[in-house]
Symmetry: C2
């Protein structure tokens, strides 16, 4: 499970402040470490789990970008999120013991895995870990409800503006540029996430480009005016 030659993998991890170890004491991280399966690499297109799979483990993205999609009985499918480094995958599966969505890598990367029963046992020993896990679950609820607001009350332009600003903010938080974005997902993925058709996504990106808000070249997007994007959201 753990690499015996390394005292602590999590303790040396470059994203530890974004990830489960955030806020834990050094000796707590050491203990956590022993229960983690570290940095399993995934290639673009790989599925970490699929809808209906039995739930055993949670994953945290350590590198790369993932998307999660729900499949409804009747063929309908909806992208429910794009996960960057430090974000959990599989939280929805705790409720019923099976996964309600599938998680697919949008680029090569890696994940850290922890068996959920072990995480719960560790939580009994480490109140800090328990609390930060609760915050992560709650943060996912807030995020999902934010998307509900977006889907329920915003028009297409506003949705896309909010999406781009959100990506930029999360990139910046990970010490990447907050204006230079590389959309690793297709227009269809974006549309599915935002409740729009891919043509609409494409059209609105072009419109933003024409308005001088963005530079768009395929999947390379540079935000020229985040104020302009924010104004679109504010002005309904």
């Amino acid at each position: 499970m753990n690499s015996p030659d390394l005292k602590s993998v999590c303790g040396c991890c470059s994203i530890k402040e974004l990830c489960i170890p955030a806020g834990l004491a050094e000796e707590e991280v050491l203990l956590l470490d022993q229960h983690m399966n570290h940095r399993r690499t995934v290639r673009k297109g790989d599925a970490l789990f699929r809808t209906g799979d039995a739930f055993r483990s949670l994953y945290v993205v350590s590198a790369g970008l993932f998307k999660t999609s729900m499949l409804h009985e009747d063929g309908r499918t909806q992208v429910t999120g794009f996960q960057m480094t430090g974000e959990y995958l599989g939280l929805d599966a705790i409720s019923s013991g099976k996964h309600h969505c599938e998680a697919v890598a949008l680029e090569g990367g890696s994940v850290c895995e922890i068996a959920f029963d072990q995480l719960e046992s560790l939580g009994q020993l480490l109140p800090n870990l328990q609390h930060s896990f609760h915050k992560s679950l709650s943060r996912e609820i807030v995020r999902d409800q934010g998307v509900m607001l977006l889907l329920g009350s915003m028009r297409a332009e506003e949705r896309l503006a909010a999406f781009l600003l959100n990506l930029a903010k999360r990139s910046a938080h990970r010490r990447q540029s907050d204006s230079e974005l590389i959309l690793r997902m297709t227009r269809e993925d974006i549309g599915s996430y935002l409740g729009l058709k891919l043509e609409t996504v494409s059209r609105i990106l072009s419109r933003f480009h024409d308005q001088g808000l963005l530079e768009v070249q395929g999947r390379h997007v540079r935000i020229l005016s985040s104020e302009g994007l924010e104004r679109i959201i504010r002005d309904h």
Copy 2:
């Protein structure tokens, strides 16, 4: 906090199988009991908490029906859920220590309150409680993602059909009729939750009535053909 004259309130509660005590041993329920503030009554229109309030406690509906709404900075507002007996209120606030939505009673009722720090401490003592709490959080995530699917990929008729079937299912689970519904919320609340305008909600209820799927008289709705409603969802 607790009523000293009662050995166990939760243990005698009529909805204990729907609520926090579900799956706990008798002595665990006794311990839980001592940390709960039981059955605070609320009147129609009362707010349990409002957006921005400091987070101290979680609530569980013990009687009545609540709605939660998010308020966006720019006046936009969105109903994020309707909570029936046994369902938590306030889970979104764990993430940041303040409430991201407001919870308002749609009819007279009552809630049980538990200070969150005490719930976490109890969780350290009672792994069963810890686990069932995790399942509740995860269930809320699944629910929210289900609404994302609804808002992102269903048309107005399908949304309303899904909404009515969901209400009916949850009512039946609480030993109420699964065909006789009383909509305690306004058409505007329903519309906000489903990403529709109130006129659209009204029109579609009338359409369902004309099609013989429902009997509609104001807020009293009788489902005449749940198969018909399911077919609407299935036939896109």
